[in-house]
């Protein structure tokens, strides 16, 4: 059987499964559509949340980022897992007890203000839109590589599938497809990692391989990380285990990712689908466990992939390059330019040439693809796209073809599951928070579901458009927005809404506006308006959300102190959500 047939079997099979689940779980009422009738088991919700949380970027790019950045990449590892501790101890048990459909519902009710509700809608739509564009792009890329079709066709296939099960099935459809998607992802991620760990370190468990000895070849055993540090040093890179980001910036970025995670609406609403506050706590444990399986493996994959890549490429004659090198070169993700004309590949610090490779059609039989980019002065001759590290891993480890197909199915599952969760929040923001709560409160249930379906169709069309025509590196730059915004708006405001009875409407609104303005202003200024990087105290745009969050806390408290206290029924509501008894099932 050829690779293509295996790919068709795995991708086609997984799609058939997702659609079958969607058809079985079609939602009819708003309660089914928004929160799956709050009847999901903690275990299933844990898997679904893990799949929801881990996006195409996590699945495909994270190991590549770790390989390239070493210690610096710890900010993502700690940030995207540590956020769940904040989420579980500070946010979700109380919002579950509050017992409504959306995060924005809480802002609107707790701060007795449709203005706060509207700010919530705008933030939720903005955060989810930036995210979902990247997912659609990811699906398109995988498809175009797999089946040799244009990216737009890949995006359209992905969008149709997501609409089928998220638009029609609502939360109920999403939940059970996400469970299936998590299973695909976890096998796709760990199986190649286990094999490559055995290959390089002789250790079956990748996490032990990471701290174990490098045993490939016949050199004296040396610890894997020392070997990697030595390789990096030889080629002029910083030591793998050293960091280059200043401590304060590293601290701020990690804190933003943590607080942002705890404020992301598509993650919070997943916990509205379980039965009780007790079930929320249990489900949070499952969620983090399922996420940790992949997050604990990623650093091992990153270190293995880098060791393998450098030792197989650097100093090797092109004519003797491993077959995976040539495969990915054919797909345009690897390039080699023989700067010194010795026929041997040299990999060093710096870019081999400017920008992404542009290949000329001329190629000598058996020779490398010719790149027409302007070359750089440094000695590096090799270009590779970071994302290939996960996708090429099975080939580097010499694994059978079905494993490669499984990894591809995993990439698609990661992108689709996140896109579906985001789409639900987007459509709910319009149908419930905007139409039902602000514009036309007398709308019937079936009308609301219709609005939700139409909104998800519209948002998906926009996301697909940007997936096909990404505004240059706009998406990469706006990821900082999504977390900065969640950390400076939703997280502190919800937190104060639960833990303080004194914070009132005026304080919350002023705090949110101050936090968002500082964060957005700083990011826009440094990402789009100026070229220099004279950051305040060395805090990069990625980390500024932390300062935005602190500002939100200060402004909200000061303004609340000088304006009237919230009404008595709000104070009672806050008291009521602080104790878990009889959370009941979610209502309007």
């Amino acid at each position: 059987m050829t690779q293509d047939i295996w790919n068709f079997i795995f991708i086609g099979g997984s799609f058939a499964l997702y659609i079958w689940i969607a058809v079985r779980t079609r939602a009819a009422t708003t309660k089914e559509y928004y929160v799956a009738s709050s009847g999901v088991s903690p275990f299933a919700n844990g898997m679904a949340t893990a799949a929801d949380w881990m996006s195409a970027a996590t699945f495909i790019s994270m190991a590549g980022i770790i390989a390239a950045e070493g210690y610096n990449a710890s900010r993502y590892l700690m940030g995207w897992t540590g956020g769940f501790v904040l989420l579980t101890t500070l946010i979700v048990p109380y919002l579950r007890k509050f017992n409504k459909f959306t995060v924005t519902d809480f802002l609107g009710d707790r701060f007795y203000s449709n203005f706060a509700r509207a700010v919530g809608v705008i933030c939720a739509v903005f955060i989810c839109m930036t995210y979902i564009m990247g997912q659609m792009r990811g699906v398109g890329l995988v498809f175009s590589r797999l089946f040799d079709i244009e990216i737009w066709a890949g995006v359209m296939i992905g969008a149709s599938i997501v609409f089928l099960y998220a638009g029609l099935g609502g939360m109920k459809g999403i939940t059970y497809t996400q469970v299936a998607q998590y299973c695909v992802m976890v096998f796709a991620y760990t199986i190649p990692a286990i094999f490559i760990s055995m290959l390089l370190t002789g250790n079956v468990i990748p996490q032990f391989g990471l701290i174990g000895d490098f045993t490939k070849g016949d050199g004296a055993p040396i610890s894997l990380l020392s070997k990697l540090n030595a390789l990096n040093a030889d080629l002029g890179f910083a030591k793998y285990t050293d960091g280059s980001i200043p401590k304060l910036d590293m601290f701020c970025i990690t804190a933003v990712l943590m607080c942002g995670t705890a404020g992301l609406p598509h993650v919070i609403v997943r916990f509205f689908t379980v039965r009780s506050v007790k079930a929320v706590r249990k489900s949070a444990c499952w969620t983090l466990l399922f996420i940790a399986v992949i997050y604990l493996t990623a650093p091992a994959v990153g270190a293995f992939a880098r060791t393998n890549l450098i030792s197989e490429i650097h100093g090797t004659k092109y004519s003797e390059a491993p077959s995976w090198f040539k495969n990915w070169e054919d797909r345009g993700l690897i390039a080699w330019v023989d700067k010194n004309g010795d026929g041997v590949m040299q990999h060093q610090k710096g870019d081999a040439f400017l920008k992404k490779p542009v290949y000329s059609p001329d190629r000598v039989e058996g020779g490398p693809r010719v790149v027409t980019n302007q070359l750089t002065e440094n000695g590096n001759e090799v270009f590779y796209e970071r994302d290939i590290l996960v996708m090429a891993n099975p080939e580097m480890a010499g694994l059978p073809m079905w494993v490669i197909a499984l990894v591809m199915a995993g990439c698609v599952a990661a992108a689709l599951s996140t896109a579906a969760g985001l789409l639900l929040v987007l459509s709910t923001s319009i149908s419930h928070d905007l139409m039902k709560k602000i514009v036309s409160p007398n709308m019937t249930d079936s009308h609301e579901v219709l609005w939700a379906r139409s909104a998800s169709f519209a948002f998906l069309a926009i996301a697909a458009y940007f997936g096909i025509n990404p505004p240059s590196d706009f998406v990469a730059k706006t990821v900082a927005f999504a977390f900065g915004l969640a950390a400076s708006s939703f997280f502190p405001t919800i937190l104060m809404g639960i833990f303080s009875k004194r914070i009132n409407r005026e304080g919350a609104i002023a705090g949110m506006i101050a936090g968002i303005s500082l964060t957005l202003g700083y990011i826009i200024y440094f990402q789009f308006m100026v070229e220099h990087k004279n950051y305040w105290f060395g805090i990069s745009p990625e980390g500024i959300g932390f300062i935005g969050m602190l500002l939100n806390f200060v402004v909200a408290n000061v303004i609340s102190m000088i304006t009237p206290a919230p009404p008595q029924e709000i104070v009672e509501m806050v008291e009521q959500i602080r104790t878990p008894q009889s959370a009941g099932s979610a209502t309007h």
Partner: protein
Amino acid sequence: MGSPPGDAPHSKSSQSVYWSKSLKIVGVILTLWFLVSLGCGILFRDFLDATLPNIGGAPFGFWMAQQGSILGFLILLFLYMVLMNKLDRDHGFEEGQ
């Protein structure tokens, strides 16, 4: 002990005792959370790398940043669940399942 499903009335004072105890639990969990991640992984990382023994082949602070902190979070969430469930039982706030 546990209470029947539905709302058994709780006095204001028992609610405020429950709340102050749950704040204590959250406070302890979050202090540990800060120490294992932002503390060991970033702030005291150089110090830990230099003074504590390596974990296998990895410097201690580096290992905490890429592996230990995540394992720590798992333990903390489990601990939170156990402590909060016990608090619910002790104060009669247990939910009817």
